[in-house]
């Protein structure tokens, strides 16, 4: 598929279905998107102690994320500098050193090469091979925000904070609930026969699917109200690198709204100290609470509040997930449960249970989502189907052919709209198309213009 033509179609909200399975586009994604964007690797709470490590990938690059003996977080390419063997073949553990199984080159958990058998006999010592100057490779850029460890393979990429832009306002609502921060459990990992973008788009803004896809979860009474239909009262926001969906809460009072969705008083008190006036205004006065969200390209969040016991009040949960591409048509999902470190134990237990019931490998929401995404991916492979334009224009135009106006007085950065719309899916795919055509992503508005004389006026790129 021609990336420039695809980009033009995407700007119009007309998505050729082949973007969800085309191997050529996926190759471009590898070269121009995933090698240039900040990628989430791990959360600091996964490696609390010196020597703790997890192994994570950016597509086919394997990295060890380790806390060294000085408690610094290091990101090390999991490849011996000698013959390229993986120096760590576990997923997680604790190690002061990583020793290559092939020739026993041994690296400290800072990455530094400290052991090289027969250094003198084989190389003539330092004069022949500078052991003292050799380390495991590290990605050119690493960054941590709110305990989340990221890496970027592009030395010229903007900083992590710059890349996130205005989305960091919303990130606090998921990942900043106390001075000590959040802790994670997991990830659950599983493979789905789906293109990675479908999940990323869905989480970024598809409040429209909830009433139908997830009707079964409402029918079994997992929620205190028939919430699916209330999705249309929520706002969709996009700011900086990401966007998300919200639910409308019943009052204009922050504390009451937080209690309504199940946050106990002591947690709300800590959140009070962490969130800005504007963040509290979004949840209080404006009455919108974050639900699903995506940071472009492939990191998503979800926050919801089901019942975890018969007749009981609801309890919120937070999940963080990565849509890790394996190929154009296969994705590994890594899904973590997230909770405030300081939450009372009963809350951690109930919130974890809420997560498992709703999302993740066995989650009742996620089960139906994945069936949809697998099916879309599979059917988009056809010679004919791949060229068919899927309609992603929701919210782009009314009878006057103008964009629906953003919500006035929205307390956060970026733009928000109340009601159903595909603003965020378009924003995400626009960034994707920009990246694939070799451009830095921008937050341009929808490029669609009013029909002129019965023709669709295409925006010049």
């Amino acid at each position: 598929m021609d990336v420039h033509q695809v980009r033009e179609q995407v700007e119009m909200g007309k998505i050729p279905a082949g973007v969800y399975s085309d191997p050529g586009l996926h190759q471009l994604e590898r070269e121009r998107l995933f090698s240039r964007s900040w990628q989430f690797l791990a959360h600091e709470s996964e490696i609390p102690n010196a020597g703790d490590y997890v192994v994570r990938r950016i597509l086919d690059d394997s990295f060890i994320v380790v806390r060294d003996e000085d408690h610094e977080v290091r990101v090390l390419l999991n490849m011996c500098r000698h013959r390229g063997m993986q120096v760590c073949r576990a997923e997680a553990g604790n190690a002061s050193h990583f020793r290559c199984p092939y020739h026993a080159w041994t690296y400290k958990n800072t990455g530094k090469l400290v052991g090289l058998p027969f250094h003198m006999e084989a190389y003539g010592g330092e004069a022949g091979f500078k052991k003292s100057e050799t380390s495991l490779a590290s990605p050119p850029r690493t960054g941590i925000t709110r305990g989340m460890i990221f890496a970027c393979l592009d030395p010229d990429a903007p900083s992590l904070d710059e890349s996130l832009g205005g989305f960091d306002f919303y990130l606090d609502l998921y990942m900043n609930h106390s001075d000590e921060g959040m802790e994670v459990r997991g990830p659950q990992r599983w493979l789905i026969q789906s293109n990675w973008k479908i999940g990323a788009e869905n989480f970024s803004g598809d409040s429209y699917h909830t009433p139908h896809t997830h009707v079964s979860v409402v029918e079994i009474g997992l929620f205190m109200e028939p919430k699916a239909n209330r999705r249309k009262e929520g706002a969709l926001y996009w700011a900086g690198a990401g966007g998300g969906t919200t639910y409308k809460l019943p009052t204009d009072d922050f504390d009451k709204n937080m209690a309504h969705i199940g946050y106990p008083e002591e947690m709300v008190a800590r959140i009070h100290d962490r969130w800005s006036t504007a963040q509290k205004k979004m949840v209080g006065e404006a009455g919108f609470m974050v639900s699903a969200a995506t940071i472009f390209p492939n990191l998503s969040f979800v926050h919801n509040w089901p019942r975890v016991h018969e007749g009981a009040h609801v309890v919120p949960f937070i999940s963080l997930r990565l849509w890790q591409p394996v190929s154009a048509t296969e994705t590994e999902v890594l899904s973590w449960f997230v909770v405030d470190q300081n939450a009372p134990q009963w809350y951690k237990d109930d919130s974890y249970k809420a997560y498992l019931m709703c999302f993740g490998s066995s989650g009742m929401f996620e089960q139906d989502d994945v069936e949809n995404w697998t099916s879309i991916t599979s059917v988009s492979k056809g010679q004919f189907s791949s060229q068919v334009e899927l309609d992603s224009t929701m919210g782009m135009g009314d009878v006057n052919g103008t964009l629906r106006e953003p919500l006035a007085g929205w307390p956060g950065p970026g733009e928000a709209h109340v009601g159903y719309g595909e603003y965020n899916q378009r924003a995400l795919l626009r960034r994707w198309a920009q990246a694939l055509s070799g451009q830095a992503p921008t937050n341009r508005k929808d490029g669609w213009r009013a029909p002129l004389n019965g023709d669709m006026a295409r925006t010049t790129l």
Partner: protein, 181 residues
């Protein structure tokens, strides 16, 4: 969470042949209900204090064996309430992921039965291989696991009071766990 049911037990505590047969029949009957999609029937085999748990399997070095990394995450960590919700959903008309339903076949082998900690309980260990085929042309999925069950005698029949599942994959290759193992 409670302690895990140990992965192995002393053979001395093995049940007699008649009890072994009873346990084996229970497991086969249960598999038949699940394969036929009779979820309510399956639910009736559970005690109300059921614990149903499947931790994630994490690839760790030998030296780290026994550790519970990644915060003790599970794929399933269920009680009677949450299993009941899952069953109610599957028995409804709108659980799209199982409509059309998967064709599943549960193969249960390597069964061992042991006397439990109380007179009315047995420990039943078994291997499980599930074949799952969805729709027409999708490649089938296999799930391999070990089960460690506590079966309790209630009246004249057995009920499942606890199931610990060890899944043999770190990264699941089945698209979801809309099936019970």
């Amino acid at each position: 969470m409670n302690e895990h049911i140990p992965e192995n037990l002393d053979d001395a505590a093995s049940v007699d042949a008649a009890t072994h047969y009873e346990i084996s029949s229970f497991l086969s009957n249960e598999a038949a209900l699940l394969d036929a999609g009779h979820y309510t029937g399956w639910m009736s085999l559970l005690t109300e204090d059921i614990q149903y748990r499947m931790p994630i399997s994490v690839t760790v070095a030998r030296g780290d064996a026994g550790a519970e990394p990644l915060g003790g995450m599970a794929h399933f960590d269920e009680d009677y309430y949450s299993l009941g919700k899952r069953v109610a959903r599957l028995e409804g008309d709108h659980a799209w992921t199982e409509d059309p339903p998967s064709r599943t076949r549960r193969f249960i082998t390597n069964q061992r039965g042991f006397f439990g900690s109380t007179e009315d309980e047995y420990l039943a260990y078994s291997y499980l291989l599930v074949f799952r085929s969805r729709l027409d042309v999708r490649p089938p999925e296999w799930v391999s696991a070990q089960r460690r069950d506590v079966l309790r005698r209630v009246g004249t029949s057995l009920r499942l009071a606890r199931r610990d599942i060890t899944i043999d994959e770190s990264v699941l290759r089945t698209q979801n766990l809309a099936i019970f193992l």
